[in-house]
Symmetry: C2
Subunit: 394 residues, 2 copies
């Protein structure tokens, strides 16, 4: 198996966009392609991560359409769908294509344009991820599942609403430093939880989760260019190696799991990624976790092994996961503030880590010359999870 | 790169099904898994080929749902979408996963349940494959594109309506011998073209294409189990090696192509697959081509190199592509009679070739102990095409 490196990365602004889905994806792709020193080399394949274009944008064969717009015929092209974890899945498929020797240069582009659907419809659309007969038909939504999970997890591990708010406050503060984040407005404990207007500013969505515990609905695209590690020196200023990938699925219906307050797929995906990379969680210098809901950042940081069970809340209190903390989590703002164009998100996380490992994250750069990055991309409600470990250099 | 073999294959009945999409896919998957001698070996990944479940079945994360139903946690899982070529694309992704060494056993399952959408809506849905701004917004449909292509191709190469009908008659005759085909009724030249009731039986859909020039709208699923060639001897009675895969994309809008009566992506995909397999088109013993419209079987058989340009019509007249001919094409009935559950079709083609190469195709077995099979899976209107060469033995 050949080692694989990231030799180019790019993304759009996140938020509500005037651009079409394809235009968003072209912009991110062109930035990633321009970021590498390709010369006259040809792209072998274009893998697209997207969840909803067939439904929301009336576009099938999105990857073929992107090849057309980028004018990179006769590159192979496919769309990879794994719900909100489509992005990490597409990167994994790109890595397998290069590792197998069947491709040298693979462009992976994640994109989603969510504004085609209104707020109600987007919740309905995302609920297609739930179990068709055990959840969906009873009106289960992802925020509802997250609310039930949060209640159980908080009760069991002594997590208070203040801890959820600390995640939001940290990630909004980070997003305010990231010029491409969807939400760039800092929030305060008083404003969203303890102050006189907090209830109006921050109403319940699915008790105990409030408005500021949920990520926004965003448009955006991100892209990375993958190459065999042995070519990376020529193609990139600072190549970043894909050191480990781990994936695990779990029982789809949350209530059927042996313990619905645990996320074994997160644990196993992380363990597998660390084993492949040959590092421990303590070796990670910067992490992007899947904080579609604030409770998830807390639970994932424990399941992935960064903190013992029940210890993430204390780490939040001590500021250990801030940009200048011991382990910066979501310095980009995460899904909470950078935004969550669903199928794109896993690619965004990788792009943000590449920026950090190259020292190119500007205002939100984590200090100390980070060498290892970790991304966790959470599909369904934790039933298909991918973890990726990146390492500066090849 | 490791050689990859097919060690199990299965499919459902095609047609209108009482079963849900997931049930169809479970049935095909269980047949493929049961077909191999797995013992206590675990599946590493499940790749699903599907085009429309997010829109038509309100189901995203279909691959995760299949893992759940098959109870093969914690196998990795993704859905691969490439329009009507999703099937061959998913097989290719499975081959890359095994070839890379990241997986040993990969189940690839293609499934589509089209009856959720009525006839008008299914044409609309499939037209999402056309160019969003240059075709779709003007009401272009896939039958319309095929009609325009047929007119040009027929005019240039002296193909008459009788030749199109010969494709339909041959494939209906083959389908009548395949117990899992959607359409099992033979048709005659008199019945569909020359007889007094022909116009009523076989009205124009998109002149010059008539009803019997178009494939039906089908439900169905198929699956193959992939393994490293070195494990195949233990796992399969008769392993079949994936000897070659070729893929090529082309300009999306048909009228923008230098010559809209040519299908260069078909040509290039076939050339690449033959080059990888180390054989010539003349080495193929049985082929499954993408006859969504009868004209496509004719054009593809020429572009893939089985016949010189303009020679397929003569070969049809001489019966060379019948089950007992020199090169049997679509002995399963093809899309025309076996059926066309869109995202599934490429996997079906591979499954049908596996049956032929193992000598297990029963009533529609091609004679002469075939060793090499060739599948062509056509995405969009020829803008993303995959060719696969299979070889008996490892």
């Amino acid at each position: 198996m050949r080692d694989v490196a990231i030799v180019g990365a790019g993304s759009t602004q996140f938020g509500r966009s005037q651009w079409s889905l394809l235009k968003l994806m072209c912009e991110a792709s062109n930035e990633a392609l321009g970021d590498a020193s390709l010369g006259d080399r040809r792209i072998d394949a274009v893998y697209v991560a997207n969840m909803g274009s067939v439904r929301n944008n009336r576009q099938a064969g999105l990857a073929s359409a992107l090849v057309d717009r980028l004018n990179v015929f006769p590159a192979a092209a496919e769309t990879i769908e794994n719900g909100p974890a489509s992005g990490a899945s597409a990167v994994k498929h790109g890595v397998q294509a290069v590792a197998s020797g069947m491709c040298d240069l693979v462009l992976v582009c994640g994109g989603e344009r969510m504004q085609e659907v209104n707020a109600f419809e987007s919740t309905e659309f995302v609920s297609y991820l739930s179990h068709r007969y055990a959840e969906y038909v009873y009106g289960v939504t992802l925020p509802a599942l997250a609310g039930l999970f949060a209640r159980l997890y908080m009760e069991r591990h002594g997590i208070r609403p203040e801890h959820l708010a600390m995640v939001a406050i940290k990630n909004h503060a980070n997003g305010a430093r990231n010029p491409r984040a969807h939400l760039q407005t800092p929030v305060t404990m008083e404003g969203i939880l303890t102050g006189p207007d907090a209830f109006m500013n921050n109403p319940f969505i699915a008790d105990p989760l409030r408005f500021f515990d949920c990520c926004p609905v965003s448009d955006g695209a991100s892209a990375v260019l993958l190459a065999p590690a042995e070519m990376a020196g020529e193609l990139a200023r600072t190549p970043v190696r894909v050191a480990g990938i781990g994936q695990a699925t779990d029982c789809q219906a949350v209530h059927e799991r042996p313990d619905p307050a645990e996320l074994p797929a997160v644990r196993l995906a992380a363990q597998r990624a660390f084993a492949m990379a040959g590092i421990e969680p303590s070796g990670v210098d910067v992490a992007e976790l899947h904080d579609a809901f604030t409770i998830l950042e807390i639970a994932e940081s424990e399941e992935a092994g960064f903190f013992g069970r029940g210890e993430a809340a204390g780490a939040l209190e001590r500021g250990e996961t801030r940009i200048d903390g011991r382990l910066p989590i979501n310095p980009s703002g995460g899904l909470k503030a950078r935004g969550h164009p669903v199928g794109n998100t896993g690619v965004s996380q990788i792009v943000e880590l590449v920026r950090q490992l190259r020292g190119e994250a500007g205002n939100y750069q984590v200090p100390g010359d980070p060498r290892h990055g970790f991304a966790l991309n959470f599909g369904g409600f934790g039933n298909n999870v991918l973890a990726t470990v990146l390492e500066r250099g090849v």
